[in-house]
């Protein structure tokens, strides 16, 4: 008997991810939903680790699983009163969601199953997961070590991902400042001569 542990864990993580995703849909308590979502996203991170993409897997844990934390907190804070504890989904919502979700799934399945490189074949597994993070980081800084097989002349114009990264960062900074501006404590502007009235 020989077990391919890679396939075994792939199946296990895939089943966990899909099963808990279903549990999110079926469950009616919002905190339970958030918890199942955490488990589903965690299983997806496990799939990334299994594929040797340690960086993406850690990102998944930090951003998505960690981000669900905020969802959980809001779920607890806003719905801890009894009328919101269980949220029943109406029949019409089920049908609408099934149509949207089903069509998205159909498109994705059709797209993934048509890629030749991803179809099953006898490919030997690498001994060790390839080191991807340092190449990614160098690419971000402008040194494209992933394109070294091209001649130097072709590589001369490549700038890496620094510029798009910076643009996105500045954009996020603007959004943050805007959010802080909107959330600031508002001072009521009192016209001159009306100070007494506004205090009373």
């Amino acid at each position: 008997m020989d077990i391919n542990w890679h396939s075994f864990f792939f199946m296990a993580f895939a089943i966990f991810a899909c099963g808990f995703a279903l549990a999110v849909v079926i469950s009616s308590n919002i905190v339970h939903m958030a918890f199942y979502l955490v488990l589903s996203l965690g299983a997806t991170a496990g799939l990334f680790f299994l594929a040797g993409a340690d960086f993406v897997g850690s990102m998944q844990l930090l951003i998505y699983v960690g981000g669900t934390l905020v969802l959980l907190i809001f779920g607890v804070m806003l719905t801890a009163q009894s009328p919101f504890i269980s949220m029943k989904t109406k029949g019409g919502e089920w049908i609408l969601a099934a149509i949207v979700g089903g069509s998205l799934l159909a498109i994705l399945l059709q797209a993934t199953l048509n890629i030749k490189e991803w179809q099953a074949g006898e490919k030997p597994l690498p001994d060790r997961a390839p080191v991807t993070a340092s190449r990614l980081g160098m690419g971000l800084l402008g040194a494209r070590v992933d394109e070294l097989d091209k001649p130097a002349a072709a590589r001369a114009g490549m700038s890496g991902y620094l510029l798009p990264f910076e643009i996105v960062s500045v954009h996020l900074l603007v959004v943050l400042i805007g959010a802080a501006y909107l959330a600031r404590p508002k001072k009521r502007i009192v016209p001159r001569g009306f100070e007494q009235e506004s205090q009373s």
Partner: protein
């Protein structure tokens, strides 16, 4: 290790046994560590409060006290409050414990003695340890008690805020090392203690203290233990817990304390490299044969555990010395002090490494810039396939890894 077991067992079983051995060893680190550190906490707190602490159980120093506590906890009744959310209430302690345990998967205890050598180990540990708060929030919500909910919410606000300066602090040694692989980071600090990153420049020295403050806050220890705040919230998030479930929270807490201390030891204090390179003076390195390499690693393991224990003891000292902060003081410490200081230290360390690439007075034995430049040089003439294999490590690291692999 799986290759070693394949001598006797079929291949599929060998991998399973190897994985189980790794897991069992790591769980023992947490469980036995918790026993030792709970005893130590009692002794340290006793001495700080001018009393003796446990003295009777198990002989002179009460060293079996935590074992007696453990037996007491197992025999306690497992309570489930009537208003509780039964499923989440049961699951919450395991969520905390799992998050704490997963951090150990990527934490090296000596050169290459690591369950899973990752090239983004630092990032992975930071990501996973931050998930411990899930268990606390779930426990706070599921208990169906106001005290627990308050505790959980406080913990959530605190941990979400402290992730920011913690991440910024961790970036500084990563920036100097040029890699996120904890094994390489530890190896770069080999030699005299002047090679430790904490003494690399004044900025890293300050960064370490900011890191330790944030780490204390992120593992929910006093003076940042608002989530359990005995004087205000009964016992905070674990008010309703008893017996073994309660002890899982404590194992998770002590496990995280050890893990963040271990991360501090590797990032700032040379990891398994002692203050003096005794192992290489006694020729206890892998070049002299597998047995010598093993002994050297054992010495490194002792170094590492001593450093971690020092960090944990330091946290205890702080806990029993300082009063608990108020929630607004916790937020002020994080957002007005730790985050700007960490950001300034990051800029300072960047400028310092650019200005003095070989160090100023305390010169490291291996210039740190060599690692980055070395790997670009190696990458340049070859195709991208060989970049991945030879990129991260410098020449001697590759040689040592090959030696130690041959030794197994």
């Amino acid at each position: 290790m799986a290759i070693y077991f394949e001598n006797w067992l079929p291949s599929w079983l060998a991998y399973l046994v190897a994985a189980l051995v790794h897991c069992a060893l790591l769980i023992n680190v947490i469980a036995v560590g918790a026993l030792v550190y709970i005893w130590l906490e009692r002794k340290v707190s006793g001495r700080i409060q001018d009393r003796l602490g446990p003295t009777r159980v198990g002989g002179r120093f009460g060293w079996l006290q935590s074992l007696a506590d453990g037996i007491k906890l197992i025999t306690k009744e497992d309570l489930l409050p009537g208003g509780a959310d039964a499923m989440l209430f049961r699951v919450a302690p395991y969520v905390s414990f799992c998050a704490s345990f997963c951090g150990y998967l990527a934490l090296p205890f000596a050169y290459n003695w690591v369950a899973m050598r990752m090239n983004v180990a630092v990032f992975f540990i930071i990501a996973v340890i931050g998930l411990e708060v899930f268990g606390v929030i779930l426990a706070g919500y599921a208990s169906g008690s106001k005290w627990s909910l308050f505790g959980g919410m406080r913990e959530a606000a605190q941990v979400v805020s402290y992730e920011v300066p913690l991440g910024l602090c961790v970036v500084v040694p990563v920036l100097i090392a040029g890699t996120m692989d904890l094994v390489s980071i530890g190896e770069q600090q080999a030699g005299l203690f002047t090679n430790w990153f904490v003494f690399h420049d004044p900025f890293t020295f300050i960064t370490f203290w900011v890191y330790f403050t944030c780490a204390t806050a992120s593992v929910n220890r006093a003076p940042f233990d608002l989530a359990e705040a005995e004087s205000e919230l009964v016992a905070g998030f674990h008010t309703e817990y008893s017996g073994l479930r309660w002890s899982f929270f404590f194992m998770a807490e002590y496990g995280s304390m050890f893990a963040v201390s271990g991360l501090a030891a590797i990032l700032f204090f040379g990891g398994w490299n002692g203050p003096l390179p005794i192992a290489s003076w006694l020729s206890l390195t892998a070049e002299h044969g597998p047995v010598w390499g093993y002994l050297g690693n054992l010495l490194g393991l002792t170094n590492f555990i001593l450093k971690c224990s020092f960090g944990v003891t330091f946290m205890m000292w702080v806990r029993w010395t300082l009063p608990r902060l108020r929630i607004d003081q916790v937020m002020t410490t994080c957002l007005k002090y730790c985050t700007p200081i960490a950001a300034a230290m990051f800029l300072g360390a960047t400028i310092w490494t650019a200005a003095f690439p070989g160090g100023l007075i305390l010169r490291p034995t291996v210039p740190l810039g060599e690692i980055r430049e070395g790997w670009l040089e190696k990458a340049e003439p070859t195709s991208s396939a060989s970049v991945s294999s030879a990129s991260v490590e410098t020449k001697n690291f590759v040689a040592r890894a090959a030696d130690s692999n041959a030794g197994r």
